[in-house]
């Protein structure tokens, strides 16, 4: 039995190809049923996200799977052949582990993929196409993803503007509970940053905008208070975090204003997040004690550095995946090897006994005593012959147990001796 993984991803196919191959989740059940029928697979799962479409199946013909994909989406085979990758056994397991652990993601270490694989698994379970092969494999893939997440820093540091803002705020304030954030200007990015801060414990939100109605609208989202733009400087001393994103052509937070604010706050620190271009906060504000100014480039710099950190951690994650693939293959094969060895012995022994039985008839005329002795001798000789012949194949099978290609080897042995596992 062979495990196969066939698919396309953002690494091999442009979005024009990926979108044509996507399976919508409401049609996956039906698609799985057709898939099993067409490809003779025993089990299968379809993972379809915006960055990848992959089919994991137990025992199919890889070419038939590819044909199925083309047929299902009504695309000529040539259109996708150069984008499709196809892995077998250990390589398929490794790929699945890497995908689930977000090592193959466009945004390295992003957490969504694990949920997407779980969803794909759920759909396949409901369709009844998950069995004794894919079930332990997927369970292990989830465990590996968890391990990678907790043992490496691959998903740790922030790689988006709004998370970077939260991370920085934590470096200054520690706990964000009870802190106040002021949003100046109504931009999507400012709103998003405020949303993340709020989710991470920030207490109250103040909103100001040139159009007061818009400020009221945003304030409503955060259960905060709207402040008229003309007076926002009067309220600024209450804000621990200021997110500014107005369209103003000049600095709206000058050094003297910031100094005044810090003084009124009795030197309690203020974190200015300036995501406006042109900038809203005078960079000189950063020179004031207890004022910290991060503009969009600074935040991007933090993200870039975090990204490099993730790349470094990815190396360690790959090592974990390597070890896990090895361990999983060993476990799966040992499930096959032991019964194969038993059946191999039984098969050969059966041939031996049948032959002895045939021979007994030929010795009919011999005196009973002599016949007994001859048969005993034959029995001994054939037994020792059988043991000698089988010795090497069996030790080899036991050794191949920990080899990623061991499964194929054991399969070959079964083919040669015509052994069928129950």
């Amino acid at each position: 039995m062979e495990l196969a993984l066939i698919g396309v991803s953002h690494k091999t196919a442009p979005v024009e190809v990926r979108e044509r191959l996507a399976f919508s989740s409401d049609k996956i059940r039906a698609a799985l049923a057709t898939l099993l029928e067409r490809t003779h697979a025993a089990e299968a799962m379809i993972l379809s996200t915006c960055n990848r479409v992959e089919i994991v199946a137990q025992g199919p013909d890889a070419q038939l799977v590819q044909d199925f994909i083309c047929e299902y989406h009504q695309i000529p085979a040539e259109a996708i052949s150069k984008h499709v990758y196809s892995y077998k056994n250990a390589e398929a397991i490794r790929h699945l582990f890497r995908v689930t652990a977000s090592l193959d993601s466009m945004m390295l270490g992003e957490p969504q993929i694990l949920g997407q694989v779980k969803e794909a698994y759920r759909l396949a379970s409901e369709a009844g196409t998950i069995g004794s092969s894919l079930s332990p494999l997927l369970d292990r893939a989830f465990a590996v993803a968890k391990r990678v997440r907790s043992e490496t820093g691959i998903s740790q540091s922030a790689v988006s503007i709004s998370y970077a803002a939260v991370e920085l705020a934590r470096k200054i304030f520690g706990d964000l509970a009870g802190k106040t954030v002021m949003i100046i200007g109504a931009s999507k990015m400012g709103e998003l940053a405020a949303k993340h801060l709020k989710r991470n414990g920030v207490g109250s939100v103040l909103v100001t905008n040139r159009t007061f109605e818009r400020a009221v609208e945003i304030a409503k989202i955060f259960e905060g208070a709207a402040v008229p733009f003309e007076h926002f400087t009067d309220h600024m001393e209450h804000a621990d975090i200021v997110i500014s994103s107005t369209g103003a052509p000049h600095f709206i937070i000058t050094k003297s204003l910031a100094e005044q604010v810090i003084r009124n706050r009795r030197n309690k620190p203020v974190f200015f997040i300036d995501i406006a271009v042109p900038r809203d906060v005078d960079p000189l504000v950063n020179d004031i004690d207890n004022a910290f100014v991060y503009d969009i480039d600074d935040l991007q710099q933090v993200i870039d550095a975090n990204m490099r950190e993730r790349m470094k951690e990815a190396g360690r994650a790959e090592e974990i995946v390597d070890r896990e693939v090895q361990a999983f293959c060993t476990r799966m094969q040992s499930r096959e090897v032991a019964p194969t060895i038993v059946l191999l012995r039984e098969t050969v022994d059966r041939v031996r006994r049948e032959e002895i039985e045939r021979y007994r008839k030929l010795l009919r005329d011999m005196p009973a005593e002599q016949q007994q002795a001859t048969l005993a001798a034959i029995d001994q000789v054939t037994q020792s012959l059988m043991n000698k012949i089988l010795h090497h194949p069996i030790t080899q099978m036991k050794e191949m147990n920990s080899d990623p290609n061991g499964s194929e080897f054991v399969e070959t042995v079964r083919k040669i001796f015509n052994i069928k596992l129950p």
Binding site: K171, G174, N267, P269, D289, N290, V302, N306
Partner: protein, 266 residues
């Protein structure tokens, strides 16, 4: 016996020293957990050593430099463990472990000069008030100093937009510095007062003693710091600089031996 136990403690504290050296060299925390465990066991040995000395002397051992240093080191370990337990600031260990090691090491060096008899001048109950108060104050100031240094490092990193460290947040550093200051200052005040009262009692002219003067100057720095924090709302960088200045004062005072502290004062 007590010296052997202290040497054992020193050996265990050396794991912490190794942690600090490796962490600074590699810029990545190394061996932290083993260091904490070793320090815990070392602390047990340390306490056992002090108890052994109590049995030997039949009185609480504080009359000689060896004993004061050992006591000082033990309190520093205790304070570090408490701060670690309360604040979970692992980076503070970089300061605490070497300081503990050095103090214990000095105590062992001093042990060879230790006499078994208590000097005449120190056979007084005052010594059990004066010395522990001063030492407790110093330990608190050491914590404040470490927190202040961490604050300055983290503040500089944030201003330079480099934030890839595991240092605690500014607010936690500032809070820890302030709390230990608020604890250390009254202790030191009472310590100096008790010393003065005792000197008065045995009619020593403490006003002209250089070590006492240094202690008084250090006390003034901390008074200034408390004043600015409370009245002018100083915090962060300025307060951190002053806390460091104060601790430099502590070190100068502590290592100065002369005047009538010469023979018995740590």
């Amino acid at each position: 016996m007590h010296v052997q136990l202290l040497k054992l403690a020193l050996g265990l504290y050396s794991v912490g020293l190794l942690h600090s050296v490796l962490t600074v060299l590699r810029k990545k925390q190394t061996l932290f957990k083993p260091a904490v465990v070793a320090t815990l066991i070392g602390f047990a040995c340390h306490v056992a050593s002090i108890i052994a000395r109590v049995y030997e002397q039949r009185t609480f051992p504080l009359s000689q430099p060896y004993e004061s240093f050992s006591f000082f080191a033990a309190l520093a370990v205790l304070a570090s463990l408490i701060v670690y337990w309360r604040y979970k600031i692992t980076s503070l260990g970089v300061f605490a472990f070497p300081a503990i090691f050095v103090m214990t090491f000095v105590a062992i060096l001093q042990a060879y000069n230790a006499q078994d008899s208590v000097p005449e001048l120190l056979r007084s109950r005052w010594i059990y008030i004066h010395t522990p108060l001063i030492i407790l104050g110093y330990v608190a100031f050491f914590v404040a100093f470490s927190a202040a240094v961490l604050y300055l490092v983290q503040e500089r990193e944030l201003k330079r937009k480099r934030v890839f460290n595991r240092l605690p947040s500014l607010e936690i550093c500032d809070d820890l510095a302030y709390r230990s200051l608020a604890l250390g200052f009254p202790l030191m005040t009472l310590g100096i007062l008790s010393g003065a009262l005792y000197a008065q009692q045995v009619s020593l002219s403490w006003m002209s003693d250089p070590k006492t003067l240094l202690a008084f100057l250090t006390w003034l720095i901390y008074l200034l710091l408390i004043h600015y924090r409370l009245i002018a709302g100083w915090r962060g960088k300025k307060a951190a600089y002053l806390a460091i200045a104060g601790f430099v004062g502590v070190l100068v005072t502590f290592s100065f031996s002369g005047g009538f502290h010469a023979n018995f004062h740590p």
